[in-house]
């Protein structure tokens, strides 16, 4: 609220411009792939942050929505012959619809229970993908091949930038942002002022997951191979969580920065260490644990001297009404 909006635009516009022209300067498919993946992770991190940082709900089933989008595209393209562009909105809509359906009952749960609930639901969905035939089971499925790195780069960039801008408008400009903060700060007080917490939380949930479905759809066609491990696995959620927390919850730029840094580590390990996976896990864990203990506002959050009452994950009000006298 009190930030200098024009300063942000000064930094962001050139960055976006750079990102847009990047493929024309760099023709190497390898670097284009890396760039596409970084952008995808930025998307995964900021969407996770929308729910976690702004409403205080930790969705440990974030991958579920990615997988729904991926398999929607996979199944429609492979078994029904749909063109990719038609499957894209389906992926996003299915993810959003899932969030809408499970949101109302699940958001009623207290913080820790919501975490476990979403975690187990995501694992259930992964199991479904593992046993069904139409998803190809544990062997996954292959999509029609389309080799065009620039195409996917721009789609990824478009969706993620669009999401970023949408979030920015909703959180900074529109009443929604203030309402979300109110619910997070003091739910009882917010209710007395006419705010329906369940409705707002569900809206945040849907906004957090819809874009993830879109990202999953793009991923499926881009990589041309999907399986339950890569699209519905814990490792997807885990990385998004670390990136968001490390970067700074409750801000839009924080998770983006977190995504870039963590991904840089990952790529460096992959390039120089043969057994990078296990070391990467340790780094992920250390990044998040140390951040929580020493830098609770994350890298970016601490950098901008986040003075918003100090907290981003405020205690959700557990029926603070006592009947005394």
């Amino acid at each position: 609220m009190r930030r200098n909006n024009s300063l942000y635009l000064c930094i962001l516009l050139p960055v976006i411009a750079l990102l847009v022209v990047f493929p024309y300067f760099c023709d190497s498919p390898f670097y284009l792939r890396i760039a596409t993946e970084i952008i995808m992770w930025i998307g995964l991190a900021i969407t996770w942050d929308l729910l976690a940082g702004y409403t205080g709900y930790l969705n440990f089933g974030h991958a579920m929505f990615f997988g729904i989008g991926a398999y929607a595209t996979g199944i429609l393209m492979k078994h029904a012959g749909w063109p990719f562009l038609l499957t894209l909105p389906v992926g996003g809509l299915l993810a959003a619809l899932t969030a809408l359906i499970i949101g109302v009952p699940t958001l009623r749960l207290k913080g820790a229970y919501f975490a476990i609930g979403t975690w187990s639901l995501a694992l259930a969905v992964q199991q479904v993908a593992l046993v069904l035939n139409i998803t190809g089971g544990p062997d996954g499925m292959r999509l029609p091949i389309f080799l065009n790195p620039r195409y996917f780069y721009f789609w990824m960039l478009g969706i993620v930038s669009g999401t970023f801008i949408l979030y920015w408008i909703l959180l900074e400009k529109s009443p929604f942002g203030l309402k979300v903060k109110a619910i997070r700060e003091d739910q009882d007080s917010a209710m007395a002022l006419g705010l329906n917490p369940t409705r707002i939380k569900t809206q945040a949930f849907v906004l957090s997951t819809g874009p993830v479905g879109l990202l999953g759809s793009i991923y499926a066609y881009w990589i041309t191979f999907i399986d339950p491990l890569s699209t519905l696995g814990d490792i997807l959620t885990d990385q998004a969580v670390v990136m968001a927390v490390f970067g700074g919850l409750g801000t839009l730029i924080g998770p983006a920065i977190g995504a870039v840094i963590i991904f840089a580590f990952k790529t460096a390990f992959w390039a120089y260490l043969s057994d990078y996976q296990v070391l990467y896990l340790i780094i992920l864990g250390a990044a998040i644990s140390l951040t929580v203990v020493f830098l609770p506002n994350g890298l970016w959050g601490t950098l901008i001297g986040y003075t918003n009452g100090g907290s981003v994950l405020k205690k959700s009000n557990r029926s603070g009404i006592q009947g005394l006298g």
């Binding site: 205080g56 930790l58 009952p105 699940t106 749960l109 207290k110 913080g111 820790a112 229970y113 975490a115 476990i116 609930g117 187990s120 639901l121 694992l123 259930a124 199991q127 479904v128 593992l130 046993v131 814990d234 885990d238 969580v241 670390v242 927390v245 057994d275 996976q277 296990v278 070391l279 990467y280 896990l281 340790i282 780094i283 992920l284 864990g285 250390a286 990044a287 998040i288 644990s289 140390l290 929580v292 203990v293 609770p296 506002n297 100090g310 907290s311 981003v312 994950l313 405020k314 205690k315 959700s316």
Partner: protein
């Protein structure tokens, strides 16, 4: 139908293992109110500790149990202040921050485990491993592996011991007071910091012993921690968070469900059933079957 008695027996025996997985976790939760995402990883560490110690000393793993307890109790005791720091943070929702912290711990331990132990599956040979009790009575034919029976006995011993500790000792009363009313307990002279350290230490100690048990009865890989975390969550949610008496019931229930599913339905559906059941229980009755959870 002839399989039914065996299925039931198997379910109960597995239930025993599930008790040990969950009971320390429930205790720690009841006092500190944090969900430890790393519970499965501690179990995994305990299993590998037992494996290597068994190879080195050639002592039966059941004899190594107390050693594991002592070592991991120490680790927990020392680690707890870090968690305390997060829990008492002025910023953020402390409980959720602590959850995130344990999540990070989980990643660290799993990564370290994979690095040191590799992807191998290990099991620990025990004096009990070879024997089975066979019960024959007409058409009834039951096989009861000795090691699983020992596991069940161990689970029951631990449960009774914890109940005794909590109900009949001053220390236990302090723990229960702390679990119910932190500030008032402090005013009564219960040293919250120290007690938290003890409780966390006990919890890690029990988890490590559970790991050794699992290493004997089944096997362990460095990647399996997640599965045991899931089982711990399930049992504790069903029993009611922090409600220890509910744990055996929930554990046996889970054991029986799993046993039935494996025999009468496909194994791949077992996991699906557990995940869905966990989700449904959380929605319908987050305070557990007995409604006494937190």
């Amino acid at each position: 139908m002839e399989l039914l008695p065996q299925v039931i027996v198997d379910g109960i025996l597995i239930g025993g293992v599930y008790i040990t997985i969950a009971i320390g976790f429930s205790l720690a939760f009841g006092v500190m109110h944090i969900i430890d995402f790393a519970v499965g990883e501690w179990i995994m560490l305990g299993a590998f500790f037992g494996y290597y110690l068994n190879r080195w000393t050639h002592l039966d793993p059941f004899l190594l149990l107390p050693l594991a307890f002592v070592l991991f109790f120490g680790i927990g005791f020392v680690l707890q202040p870090a968690i305390q720091k997060v829990l008492s943070g002025r910023r953020g929702n402390p409980l959720l921050m602590a959850l995130v912290f344990t999540f990070g711990l989980m990643l660290i331990i799993r990564g370290a485990g994979l690095t040191v132990f590799g992807f191998y599956s290990r099991s620990i040979p025990s004096w009990f491993s070879a024997d089975s009790f066979v019960v024959e009575n007409g058409s009834l034919f039951l096989t009861i592996p000795a090691v699983r029976l020992a596991g069940l006995a161990f689970a029951l011993i631990i449960t009774f011991f914890l109940q005794y500790l909590l109900k009949k000792t001053d220390f236990g009363t302090g723990i229960r007071a702390l679990a119910q009313q932190r500030e008032a307990a402090g005013l009564m002279g219960v040293n919250a910091r120290l007690t938290n350290c003890y409780v966390y230490g006990i919890y890690l100690g029990i988890s490590a012993m559970t790991g050794i048990l699992i290493g004997c009865v089944f096997s362990m890989t460095a990647m399996e921690g997640g599965r045991y975390s899931l089982l711990a969550f399930f049992v504790v949610v069903l029993a009611g968070m922090g409600y220890l008496p509910g744990v055996p019931w929930a554990a046996f229930f889970l054991g029986l469900v799993q046993s039935f599913f494996i025999v009468y339905l496909s194994a791949s559906y077992v996991l699906l059933a557990v995940f869905v059941l966990l989700y449904v229980v959380l929605l319908v009755s987050p305070k557990g079957l007995f409604g006494k959870g937190w």
